[in-house]
Amino acid sequence: MIILENVHKSFGSLKVLKGVNLTVHEGEVVSLIGASGSGKSTLLYCINGLEKIDSGRVTVDGTDVHAKGTDINKLRQKLGTVFQQWNSFPHLTALENVALAPRVVSKLDKAAAREVAAAQLERVGLKDKFDHYPSQMSGGQQQRLAIARALAMKPDYMLFDEATSALDPELVTEVLDTMRMLASDGMTMIVVTHEMSFARDVSDRVAFFKQGVLAEIGPAREVMESPKDPDLQRFLSSSTR
């Protein structure tokens, strides 16, 4: 379970998070939507410790992410993160990209790490790309590679930060399909997205982020089809997808 309690975060004088509260249960898919620059990415980075918080509390399975004694590297093994930029390691083949963390972090031997990597690459439909370098793969394939790389650490949670925003339109579907597959496998996911159909059809709940807080949160259909917040109404009617 991921719990955010009254989380505050500023960059200098810019207050980005102004008391965010959110609880994500096992097996749940929560989509975060909201205007560009509103602080959705920052919220995700406060969950995996890439950003520090000013006050409040973030706990993952009871462990305080921002407490002094927390082993953040260990905690991050529970939290897979996929970014907008696909961030493939350019010097490694697809298989090596996925095998790196199992080998270095989980200390698996080379053969075991490759086995784990092969299984995850297969899961995201990259069975025929094991020995390809990222430069030989499309954006959609590289983003699926990033998902496989995160899955190889056997995370309990997956955080997606606009995983399809940097992709050409024709490549978006294959990545969304992979995310759908994860959701139906029961993965707990927090998904920052501009894909309104994904938010509506795949997530259990949708949260609308506005001016530093979650202004509206509820069951996906309810939030997407009968929004109460006037800004959310405007936001949804201006979103094309």
Partner: protein
């Protein structure tokens, strides 16, 4: 009466080869130690600690802007005056190493800074510690950017090692000058020396083109 000049003999070739060996020795040591030291300094400079940065930048600027010849003579005289005279090989190696490190530091820093921050963040998100990320991601990825410039520095070190002759180290250039004075057959000797310098640098260039070919093969489908 013995003649002032004697012509070239086979033993002179051996003398030149010995000089070439000394050039290799001092260059290889300076390139290896200077690269390691320079990589560490470059890494420190890539951490955005301004006070530390400014200090290191100004120190590096000194080593980069004072001609190597002057650094060699100054260092050699200072240690002698301080009462710890060093053999030319050692003072030469120390100065050439520091000089190489000062040049490598800038190259290493640029290489590290060319690695996208989100790539580094992605690696950390997989659970890699700071130093694991540095070793398995930033270093190899940064090396791809830095390699051509690093090779330039390494080749320059081989040539600059000739200046160590000024403090009495008999390397290739000094050996040739000694022969020149004795035989007055400067054209032949210089031709030979040029060939030898080329033979010393060629393996480095070869390494460079092989590395670049390897990079190109996984950069383009």
């Amino acid at each position: 009466m013995t003649p002032v000049f004697t012509s070239l003999q086979w033993s002179d070739l051996l003398f030149l080869l010995e000089g070439a060996w000394n050039t290799i020795l001092i260059s290889v040591v300076a390139i290896i130690l200077g690269s390691v030291l320079g990589a560490i300094i470059g890494w420190l400079m890539s951490l955005k600690n301004t006070a530390l940065n400014l200090t290191m930048m100004s120190i590096i600027d000194v080593f980069r802007s004072v001609p190597l010849l002057i650094q060699l003579i100054l260092f050699d005289s200072f240690v002698a005056i301080a009462g710890f005279p060093l053999p030319p090989f050692f003072s030469g190696t120390i100065v050439l190493t520091v000089y190489t490190a000062a040049l490598v530091a800038g190259v290493a820093r640029a290489g590290i800074e060319a690695v996208p921050p989100t790539l580094r963040a992605a690696a950390r998100c997989l659970g890699l510690s700071y130093f694991q990320e540095l070793r398995y991601v930033t270093f190899p990825v940064g090396l791809r950017t830095a390699f051509p410039s690093w090779l330039g520095v390494a080749l320059a070190t081989v040539k600059d090692s000739a200046l160590v002759s000024a403090i009495g180290y008999v390397e290739l250039l000094r050996a040739s000058q000694i022969l020149n004075t004795r035989t007055q057959e400067s054209v032949k000797i210089m031709l030979l020396v040029g060939v030898l310098y080329f033979a010393l640098s060629y393996p480095l260039s070869l390494l460079g083109s092989r590395y670049e070919k390897k990079m190109a093969s996984n950069d383009h489908p």
